[in-house]
Structures are given as structure tokens and as C-alpha cells.
């Protein structure tokens, strides 16, 4: 196992191994310090940040579904300045941090990106395009090619850091959105965010979430996420970070095989705070057992029927 080279490059970010944690599922990192040393995984993607601190939605904010969960947290976060002043310093020096950004207006996105550029430990930015675009009547930024193009252009100009764009899966054709990002100079894609979903309680006939609609995550969505990673990886040259329902190393390996250069562990962190570490170790063990000298050689190694 020690023979396997686990390093991967994600759009200019050199990672010691391909496992990151997904935004919104790992807090600001420090919460996991009791469980394991964060330098043992590739890096962390912090909770998405807005310009100002935000409170988020009233409860209930989460609910369980078959092999999945729904959430509508709202935009709750400490704000970009508190993140830089308080959260980043709390992490040990060797932790690679990708800062995630979401906002309701494009110029605010760009401003958050500017403030993060140069902050210590921040090795890249992830643009969360699954946020409702107020001006487009609530449709997500990532659901309209023109809006997405503007967003990527503006954030690309705002930072010299590697720029990851995290796409919404709630689209007709993920390849179209991937191409938009490639065209506007993104360095990598993160695929996917949550699937828009809903559940109701039959006893009260009320939606289970106060926000009515929520995002579906967890193993339930993994086959959909895998499909999008597969499609996008064949439509663009950008490296892809695969996300969606990764619970075990085997799940992560599937994303690598389908064309992802790295992965993010999300919901699994809740059930098992050591999930990301176990996934990182398990990927190396798989590569070793299958005779791959480098984890990077697994990327896109899918064997298609002739």
C-alpha cells in the first residue's frame, strides 16, 4: 500500500490524496479535530461563505429519506471575514482549504472571492452555483447557461486562485454547463450539489422542511452523480471533483473510474466523522490491490463495452 502514489492534481491544486470533504458537511474543519488529523486527507472544502454573516432558515431544516437526507439550511455561515479571522487560524498549517462561495448577486460572489484570495491555507475557491439567483426569479445560477457564464467570468476575474465551479445537478444537460465553465476559464468542476426535492409528513400534511423544498444528498443520489461526472468528463478537459453519496472507499473509486480526479465526502461525515479518512485509506488500498502504482491512473479507467 505504501507503494501507491496517492497524489492528484485538481486544476492546479496539488493534493496529497484525492479525498476532500464537501462544503456544508464539514463545518469549518475544526469540528473534526477530535476525530482525526485533517492533514491525512487531501483537503477540506469549508461551508459556503457569503459577504456578511447569515442566519439561515427556521427549523425543521433537515429530514431523512430512503438512503438519503433532505436539507434546506439556508445561507447560514459566519461570513467571509470571520472565516478568515477566526476559522482559518484554528486549522493546523498543513491543512489544504478550498473556500466555498455563494451569494445572491454576481458582484457579491466576486467580492467574496477577492477577500479570500491570499488568505493563508486557502489553496482554491469553489463557486457554489446552486444558489437561487434572485434576479432570475429563484432559478439557480447553475441552471441557466448565460447566468452561469456571467458568474464564472466574474469570479474568474476576481481571483488568481484555482477556481472550481460546483454545478447544480438540476439541469437537462450537465455537459452544456460544463462547457460553459470551461469556456470561461474555470480550472475544475465539482459535481454535484444536491438534487432539488421535497417530502411531506402524512400525519400533518406539511412539508417536512420549513423551506418546503430542499436538497437531496446521500447514497440515493450516487448513481445520478456518477452519471453526470461520467458525462462531463467526456465533454470537457477540465478535471472533475466527484461528489454525491460517497460513503465508502468503493463509492469513491467509482467516481475516479468514471473520470473524477478527486472526490468530496459529504453526508457520510455526519454518520461517521472519520468517513473521509477511511475513504482516503481505502482508495489507496484498492489501487494497491488492483496493481495501480498511482491513484491518478484510476482516473477515467472505466472499461466500456465495445
Amino acid at each position: 500500500m505504501s507503494a501507491v502514489d496517492t497524489r492528484v492534481n485538481l486544476g492546479g491544486i496539488a493534493l496529497r490524496n484525492p479525498v476532500l470533504t464537501a462544503s456544508g458537511t464539514f463545518g469549518y474543519g475544526g469540528e473534526f479535530a477530535p476525530f482525526f488529523d485533517l492533514e491525512q486527507i487531501g483537503g477540506i472544502v469549508a461551508k459556503s461563505l457569503t459577504l456578511e454573516p447569515r442566519q439561515g432558515n427556521l427549523p425543521p431544516r433537515i429530514a431523512e429519506t430512503p438512503a438519503g437526507m433532505l436539507n434546506a439550511i439556508g445561507l447560514e455561515n459566519v461570513g467571509v471575514d470571520a472565516f478568515i479571522a477566526e476559522k482559518l487560524p484554528a486549522l493546523s498549517a498543513g491543512v489544504a482549504v478550498v473556500a466555498s462561495v455563494f451569494e445572491t448577486e454576481i458582484d457579491r460572489y466576486a467580492e467574496v472571492c477577492k477577500r479570500l484570495t491570499g488568505a493563508p491555507k486557502v489553496v482554491g475557491l469553489e463557486i457554489n452555483a446552486s444558489c437561487p439567483h434572485v434576479k432570475s426569479g429563484g432559478i439557480e445560477f447553475g441552471q441557466r447557461a448565460e447566468v452561469l457564464a456571467q458568474l464564472v467570468r466574474a469570479t474568474r476575474q476576481a481571483t488568481s486562485l484555482p477556481l472550481l465551479v460546483k454545478l447544480s445537478p438540476n439541469v437537462t444537460d450537465i455537459r452544456e454547463m460544463a462547457k460553459v465553465c470551461e469556456g470561461e476559464g474555470a480550472d475544475a468542476l465539482s459535481l454535484v450539489n444536491t438534487l432539488q426535492a421535497l417530502d411531506v409528513d402524512v400525519a400533518t400534511r406539511r412539508p417536512v422542511l420549513r423551506n418546503v423544498l430542499g436538497g437531496l444528498s446521500g447514497p440515493a443520489i450516487r448513481p445520478v452523480a456518477l452519471r453526470m461526472v461520467f458525462q462531463a468528463s467526456r465533454a470537457v478537459k477540465l478535471p472533475i471533483c466527484g461528489i454525491g453519496g460517497i460513503m465508502t472507499a468503493e463509492d469513491a473509486v467509482k467516481f475516479l473510474i468514471c473520470g473524477a480526479s478527486a472526490v468530496q465526502v459529504g453526508t457520510a461525515n455526519y454518520l461517521n466523522p472519520m468517513a473521509a479518512l477511511e475513504v482516503a485509506r481505502g482508495i489507496a488500498a484498492y489501487a494497491s490491490a488492483q496493481g495501480f502504482a498511482r491513484v491518478a491512473d484510476l482516473v477515467g479507467s472505466i472499461e466500456l463495452p465495445r
Binding site: 456544508g24 458537511t25 464539514f26 463545518g27 469540528e31 473534526f32 477530535p34 476525530f35 461551508k47 442566519q55 439561515g56 432558515n57 427556521l58 427549523p59 425543521p60 431544516r61 433537515i62 429530514a63 431523512e64 429519506t65 430512503p66 438512503a67 438519503g68 437526507m69 436539507n71 439550511i73 447560514e76 420549513r210 446521500g218 447514497p219 460513503m247 465508502t248 453526508t267 461525515n269 455526519y270 454518520l271 461517521n272 466523522p273 472519520m274
Partner: protein, 271 residues
């Protein structure tokens, strides 16, 4: 505040038995368990217990640490009602099997000041959060435990409280044990009694806790409540367990609670 760092462990089921109706008692042996303070809870993953990974139900369930039994391998007890999918699955766990545990978690109860009278108000599964508190409060002053349930069969842990030697008063909605009525009526009566300053601790259904807070406030007594809310993580990262404070700001039940001052809770929007 929580002085003990939480751990993630594959706990071994030492015992898991039905105590009548939906009531169950689970004893878990946990290597390295750091101990817990009254009001601490754990996250238990019932779905992770089998040999093959299964993800339905997906999320772990928050459960109060009923009590810790020290030993070479420390054990904790959990009292739970098997009602939904996760707790019914938990009820199927046999001795020797593994259950994933994360904990201890949360902000515990503040023990009463020396000489204060502690009034512990428990309803439903909330009773499970009060045992260690009753046990530790005994050394500070008089303790009365007021328990409520629909009927005698639903009552959890009453014998254990009795064995602690604390004063025990019971109310059931159908009158099958103790007084017929609500446990908050027992609280009213207890606060009306003469004696040292009282401090109230309540854990149970939201309306009960809210009412306990109002009654305590009316008598000038401090009241701590242990809130319940849906949780995905239990340690402050999913932001799923938010409840509003009275001042409109948001608190996380798992990190800022589950124990809150009743007066600080924005009750109108607690689910």
C-alpha cells in the same frame, strides 16, 4: 461547557432488552469512553450494525446518555422508545453486535447551587436525560423528580429513580399510575410548596418544556430545558438542528444545547 472530547467508536452491545411496550434499554460497552455529564447525548447509528453496509435508515439517532457504568471497558446505558424506523432497527441489535457511537456531545445541565431544591420534570423519552442529573444533584440539596407519561406502561426508568432515593412523583394522563393529569401540574404544586429556592430542569415534549419554563418563571425559578430536534451530525457541522433563540438569533441544539435556559428559547419556532 463540554470538557470531554467526543469519540467515534464501534460500541459492543452488552445488552438490549425490551422493558415493556416500546420501551427499551440498551447497554453499550465502549472502549475509551471518557465519561459524560448530566444532559450529554450520543449519536447512535442503527443502520451501520450489520456486516454489509446498508444506508436505509441513513442518519444516526440522538440519544441521551442515561448513565455511565464505569469498568475496565466502560459501559453506557440508553433508554429508548422503538417507534420509528431507526429505533426499531436499534431494537433488533443483539448482544455482541456493533453499533457506531459518536459522543459524548452537547452542553450539559448546570448542577443546582448548594442548598437549592432541584425539581426535575421528565416526560416521555425525555426522562432519560434526567437520571444522571438526579443522581448528581442529590449531593447539592433536595431533589424531586416529577415524571409524566400517557399511562403507567409508557413510563421509563421510574424504578431507577426510586432506587436513587430521590423523591418521586408521577402523573399519567389516564391515571393508571400516580396522579391523573399532566406532569406540569405536579410542577405547579411542587413550586407552590414552601422550601429553599428551586431550580427546574425539564426534558420532554416541546409544549411540556415550554409550559415548565412559564411555570418556573412565574415562581421566579430558573429553568433549564433539554431540547430535541432532528439531527444529522450531533457535533455542529450540518447546521440541521437550528432553533431560534428568544432574541431571534439561531442556536444549534447539538452544539449550543441541548440544554438551554428556558427563558432564552424562541419557543414559537421550536419544531
Amino acid at each position: 461547557m463540554n470538557p470531554t472530547l467526543p469519540l467515534r467508536a464501534d460500541a459492543r452491545v452488552a445488552e438490549n432488552r425490551c422493558e415493556g411496550g416500546a420501551n427499551h434499554r440498551l447497554r453499550l460497552a465502549i472502549d475509551g469512553w471518557p465519561g459524560a455529564r448530566p444532559g450529554h447525548f450520543v449519536m447512535l447509528s442503527p443502520g451501520a450494525r450489520g456486516a454489509a453496509p446498508r444506508f436505509d435508515p441513513l442518519l444516526p439517532r440522538p440519544m441521551a446518555v442515561y448513565r455511565t457504568l464505569p469498568g475496565a471497558v466502560p459501559e453506557i446505558e440508553v433508554l429508548y422508545k422503538a417507534t420509528g424506523r431507526g429505533t426499531q432497527l436499534l431494537a433488533e441489535a443483539r448482544a455482541g453486535e456493533c453499533v457506531r457511537v459518536v459522543g459524548p456531545l452537547g452542553v450539559p445541565f448546570a448542577l443546582p447551587e448548594r442548598g437549592q431544591r432541584a425539581l426535575l420534570v421528565g416526560g416521555g423519552t425525555g426522562i432519560a436525560s434526567l437520571y444522571e442529573l438526579a443522581s448528581q444533584a442529590r449531593a447539592r440539596g433536595p431533589v424531586a423528580v416529577l415524571l409524566g407519561a400517557r399511562s403507567a406502561g409508557d413510563l421509563m426508568g421510574a424504578d431507577d429513580f426510586a432506587a436513587l432515593g430521590v423523591e418521586l412523583r408521577v402523573a399519567t394522563e389516564d391515571g393508571s399510575r400516580g396522579r391523573r393529569g399532566l406532569v406540569t401540574e405536579l410542577l405547579e404544586a411542587a413550586l407552590a410548596e414552601p422550601g429553599p429556592t428551586a431550580v427546574v430542569y425539564a426534558c420532554g415534549p416541546t409544549p411540556m418544556m415550554r409550559r415548565a419554563g412559564e411555570i418556573a418563571a412565574a415562581h421566579g425559578a430558573r429553568c433549564e430545558v433539554s431540547l430535541e430536534n432532528r439531527m444529522a451530525c450531533g457535533f455542529g457541522v450540518c447546521l440541521g438542528c437550528a432553533v431560534p433563540r428568544a432574541d431571534g438569533t439561531i442556536a444549534l441544539v447539538c452544539r449550543d444545547g441541548p440544554v438551554f435556559d428556558a427563558a432564552a428559547v424562541g419557543w414559537a419556532n421550536v419544531p
